[in-house]
């Protein structure tokens, strides 16, 4: 697979013996948009940080991550610093917290630009910073470089965050819930902006979110994480039309809808088990509408296997599921 931008193989992450990510396999081609979805605590943010090599010191990581053909030097922080920013960009969920309150936006931009290109002159860096801010539609961008973060709105800050993530012209952008902290209108604007920039630059994006609506608008592929396991990897279109994995179906059913008015939102019963608490069987079994109590689900770990349509699903009942679904 020479065409892959990112290849994750058997990636596992644990914190003090607790497995937070379990044997993740994932591939991404240049320009791809992958939505990484799961409940809080499913390990989606951990996966993003693992790719960036920014997990805390106490995390133990195994497996390989290949980026643009070469294995990432995960354990070597100095070597990873050269890849972060320059090759892989990152957008954090909370734009207010993502900026040092005592530095101007221009300083932040300068730091990001200088990290990717150490020899750049102050003047050239400032011009680049202004151009990047203009790219994310900040009006009067050159003058606003001297303003402090508290002088911007949340939506503007998130756009500036995107601009600083673009400083090194990355081939991959990892956006960790980039719109969660914003109101609905601003969310739509930021997504539209991200869409335009990613298309124009041919940049691949991993969008980490728990909002399937955002994935539907923005992503081509959908990866679903449950309790540190990748349970489903399909295209967004197929997932929306016919979610094969019962967990994906549950997530889709839990979305609020405009065309019907249920008394309350549908939910998936139960809670996410504690990381590493899963026994020998499928981690979703206790909450699964199809497999609860089924012997094979309880006792055997389902593997992530390709099905007829080319999707990959980790579910013993994935084949039988469409008939069961039709009958209810």
């Amino acid at each position: 697979m020479t065409g892959s931008l990112l290849e994750i193989e058997r990636l596992s992450v644990s914190f003090g013996g607790l497995r937070v990510l379990d044997d993740i396999d994932l591939k991404l081609a240049p320009g791809d948009r992958l939505g990484l979805v799961g409940e809080s605590g499913s390990g989606k943010s951990t996966l993003g940080l693992a790719i960036l090599g920014l997990l805390v010191d106490t995390a133990s990581v195994s497996g390989t991550i290949r980026f643009a053909g070469a294995a990432l030097p995960i354990g070597d922080d100095r070597a990873m610093s050269a890849i972060r920013g320059g090759r892989i960009g990152f957008v954090y969920q909370d734009p207010m917290g993502g900026f040092s309150p005592i530095h101007t936006v221009g300083r932040h931009m300068h730091h990001a630009i200088a990290a990717a290109e150490p020899d750049i002159s102050r003047r050239a860096a400032r011009e680049r910073a202004a151009a990047l801010l203009a790219e994310v539609e900040i009006r009067d961008s050159a003058a606003r470089l001297d303003d402090y973060p508290h002088q911007f709105s949340g939506g503007m800050l998130q756009r500036i965050m995107i601009a600083s993530a673009l400083a090194g012209n990355p081939q991959l952008l990892i956006a960790d819930e980039p719109t969660t902290a914003l109101d609905a209108t601003t969310q739509a604007n930021v997504l539209r902006l991200l869409d335009r920039i990613a298309s124009a630059r041919g940049m691949a994006v991993i969008l980490i979110t728990h909002d399937l609506g955002v994935v539907g608008r923005f992503c081509g592929d959908l990866a679903v994480l449950y309790c540190g396991n990748l349970v489903s990897l399909t295209t967004v279109a197929r997932a929306m039309a016919n979610p094969v994995h019962p967990y994906t179906r549950g997530l889709l059913d839990a979305r609020p809808r405009l065309d019907e008015k249920p008394a309350r939102l549908r939910t998936i019963g139960g809670v996410l088990p504690r990381a590493g608490a899963a026994g020998g069987g499928c981690a979703f079994e206790p909450r699964c509408a199809l497999g609860r109590g089924v012997a094979i689900c309880r006792n055997e770990r389902p593997l992530l296997l390709a099905n007829r349509s080319g999707d990959r699903v980790a579910c013993h009942l994935a084949g039988a599921e469409s008939e069961v679904a039709a009958s209810c």
């Binding site: 010191d57 954090y92 909370d94 917290g97 508290h150």
Partner: protein
């Protein structure tokens, strides 16, 4: 920035007046009569009343207070009843000595706290953090006079590296021509390096003793602030931009963590300028501490009131500097002042 300074200055003056009023009232509300103390138990009531009138103590408190403030501002600090000398000449040598000791201790405490805090927070080796944590606990827990004596025993008696408790300069070394009253500074101004070195050698042990407690306090505070800021999202974001751990630490973590530490260090400075009686005793330092303690016991109003106001002024100037420094670092503070 000018508005910030003015706003703080206004607040500070109010604080100084408050301090003066507090000192004034505390001395007068307490039991005893200075005139009686001066004249002795066997003086006639008429003599005491005459002296009270001469001292102005028969006037209402309000008048006394206004006189006190007006005289302080014009430089007439009154006479010590107990010593029969003008307060000005009593404090002329001693107040600078206290200031020199306090400032030096303060600089050592802050510099070491900043250094150790940064090392402790940045280092990833267990033994370094454990060592520094122990040092912080030791600094806070150890009694000042005991530590001073130990320093003298080791530095003077055993190693002979430092002079004994003989005051500000060695025997036979004349004080430098007085400009600021601080021997180290005056010696440098006069270009007299030998005197400067001697003054420094005499200053170091008492300053370390006096600075130990604030060092421990500031170290803990700064360290905790650094650790807090290191968990802020902007640190993660900075790292994701390709900055190294050190770059992010230097650019984002330290400047953000230093603001509350600076504010606290301003408060500490006030303590150091006033509260060095014990250390002055141990090292025979000719500061104002002993004079003021004696003044309080003898109800020597002018000495105590003047010292308290002088300390308040120094304290205010120091905190004003800190405030300006903080406003220069943190744009949100300067903005709050100009908005309000």
């Amino acid at each position: 920035m000018i508005r910030t300074v003015l706003a703080r200055l206004g607040l500070s003056l109010t604080a100084a007046l408050g301090a003066a009023l507090f000192a004034f009232l505390t001395l007068r509300v307490g039991p005893g009569d200075p005139a009686r103390l001066v004249l002795g138990a066997f003086a006639s009531d008429e003599a005491v009343a005459a002296l009270r009138a001469e001292m102005g103590l028969d006037k209402p408190y309000v008048v006394q207070f206004v006189h006190y403030i007006a005289d302080f501002v014009t430089g007439d600090w009154g006479k010590s009843y107990a010593m029969g000398e003008p307060v000005r000449s009593l404090l002329a040598d001693r107040f600078p000595a206290t200031i020199e000791l306090g400032l030096c201790a303060f600089v050592i405490a802050v510099a070491m706290a900043l250094l150790c805090g940064m090392v402790g927070s940045y280092a990833r080796r267990d033994w370094i953090t454990r060592l520094l944590r122990t040092l912080a606990s030791f600094s806070i827990g150890v009694p000042q006079f005991w530590f001073g004596l130990i320093l003298l025993m080791v530095g003077f008696e055993c190693l002979g590296l430092f002079p004994g408790p003989v005051g500000r300069l060695g025997f036979g070394v004349p004080p430098p021509p007085s400009v600021t009253g601080l021997y180290t500074v005056d010696a440098l101004l006069a270009g007299d390096l030998a005197t400067f070195a001697d003054a420094c050698r005499h200053l170091l042990l008492p300053a370390v003793t006096l600075g130990l407690l604030p060092f421990g306090f500031l170290l803990r505070l700064f360290w905790a602030n650094l650790d807090d800021v290191a968990n802020e999202p902007f640190v993660l974001v900075g790292r994701s931009r390709g900055m190294t751990r050190w770059q992010v630490f230097r650019r984002y973590v330290v400047p953000n963590a230093i603001v509350p530490t600076l504010t606290a260090s301003g408060l500490v400075l006030g303590q150091m300028l006033a509260g060095s009686v014990l250390v002055e005793r141990v090292f025979n330092w000719p500061g104002a501490g002993a004079l003021v303690t004696q003044g309080i016991l003898q109800q020597d109003y002018s000495v105590v009131q003047t010292f308290i106001l002088l300390s308040a002024v120094v304290y205010i100037v120091a905190n004003l500097c800190v405030d300006v420094l903080v406003a220069a670092i943190d744009p949100r503070i300067a903005r709050k002042d100009t908005a309000g």
